[in-house]
Symmetry: C2
Subunit: 290 residues, 2 copies
């Protein structure tokens, strides 16, 4: 059993690159939220993260072991963008993508963690991508497909790559993307489940459902080694081994932070792909070798 001891900022200016296999994570733009002037004005934008499959992944055959891939797994074969920032971040986003050798047409899936303007302001840059904005999944062109995402049922995007239902901040349909197998372990890209490292005491005021968000935060801290929050730098989650028996009766009363299943251990979700034209074609090229 382990428990979270503390969190600490991950040092380094963006882009922050966490190599991994089969997926690397690159935090392209760091989110922020800064008071401005008097009267409660806040200048803000959301973090933007790129998930890159290893270069050879796009050459893998569409089906593995005879199992048909879901439409979401097909959409996740190329570069995946998690959140886009607000419209004012357009040029910085394009530059940051170019810096990773990725053009907008290369992105095959855009995940919007929730529908706030500082997170989904640039969806229009990616008309060839499938979209998963909150719980709404659609193929390019606007064909929406149902899926069974829920707090107890993550969606599989690929090996060690999942979408979790993490309600609370924006409402009941916020999502996070969880990536296993990076150099620093499991990375959770969480939108505003966490505003930033050290947001205890103020995140609740920004939450539509603090009780749900508290659950989401606990789940994330139980698995992630790195968290990419919505309005701050990525941060590390530091745990220690914990034996409540060794610490006596008081420790046995403390709620354990068990490490839940790592991404990839659950059964994959089936997503119908009954749209005219079928699933989107694989991404033409990945740009950055991983």
């Amino acid at each position: 059993m382990s428990r979270v001891v503390r969190t600490e900022p991950l040092r380094g200016e963006p882009p922050v690159r966490l190599p991994g296999d089969p997926f690397s994570v690159v935090v392209l733009l760091r989110g922020y939220a800064e008071p401005e002037g008097a009267g409660g004005a806040v200048r803000a934008d959301g973090s933007v993260t790129l998930i890159l499959p290893r270069a050879s992944r796009h050459r893998e055959p569409p089906s593995e072991g005879g199992e048909a891939k879901t439409a979401l797994e097909e959409a996740a074969r190329g570069p995946i963008l998690v959140d886009t920032g607000g419209p004012w971040a357009r040029e910085r986003l394009l530059e940051a993508l170019a810096g990773q050798g990725v053009a907008p047409v290369d992105v095959t899936l855009v995940v919007g963690t929730h529908g706030h303007s500082d997170h989904i302001g640039n969806l229009g840059l990616f008309p060839r991508a499938a979209l998963l904005v909150s719980h709404d999944f659609c193929l390019p062109g606007g064909c929406f497909l149902p899926h069974g995402l829920g707090e107890e049922r993550p969606l599989r995007l690929g090996p060690g790559l999942e979408v979790w239902a993490t309600p609370g901040h924006g409402g009941q349909r916020d999502v996070s993307v969880v990536v296993a197998g990076t150099a620093l372990g499991t990375v959770a890209v969480v939108g505003d489940v966490f505003e930033r490292d050290g947001d205890e005491g103020f995140w609740q005021a920004l939450s539509e459902d603090p009780a749900a968000q508290e659950r989401s935060r606990k789940r994330v801290l139980g698995t992630a080694d790195v968290v990419v929050p919505g309005h701050g730098a990525p941060f590390l989650v530091v745990r220690e081994a914990w034996n409540p028996e060794a610490e006596g009766p008081e420790a046995r009363d403390e709620e354990p932070q068990e490490t839940p299943d790592a991404p990839g251990d659950e059964e994959p979700q089936e997503t119908p792909d009954a749209c005219e034209g079928g699933p989107p074609a694989p991404a033409p090229g990945l740009g950055t070798e991983v």
Copy 2:
């Protein structure tokens, strides 16, 4: 006292133009939601509506009668777009705007009724506009300003022009825009408060909070003469004069549909504009004479 007798589709292919003073309403793109194939796939996009002030409005001085305008009222001085459709609607949206003589740079305010991908997919076309997406209001550049919008407190955008809090479909923060003084009376642009005319029996399954949405629907039907729904053609609201006394005890038990205050009767909201650079400049030109 009056009560709603029925609703009926407003005939005419888009763009559907409802001239008015001081604001005209043009439904640029009609929303739709059509089942496709088997397995529950739906091809969909949201309605897109333009609100145009009379041509002379942009030449009016910034302050009227010594009262400072709120930042939201300043943002509402030029063409206002309500919802943008999904990214796949980009070209149709640009053409439809051009057909009204409006370029994206002319739009001073974009209102997103709620944060679903088929309604806010093209925010990035309007980097010079202020945004009100659900309850989040920001100036161009991403400076977010607080306001007091609530179900009991609409926000004033201009004479006879308001934003209403109409929760339910997307969650607690959905909004609608209500425009008085058109040739057909008061127009309510409601996002998915109404999916389409005749949506009784299925809108609830698409709602995050059906009880809240039922309240929102009743409020809209109590005021609007025309409703622009999210996934269908605009429709008329037909009422008749009603005297419960004349109809006996049973009628007196029926819940009356009183006509609430028309837009413009409530006290205006004060919105601080304490962002560096102040409120945005007035729109450079309106294109279409009203």
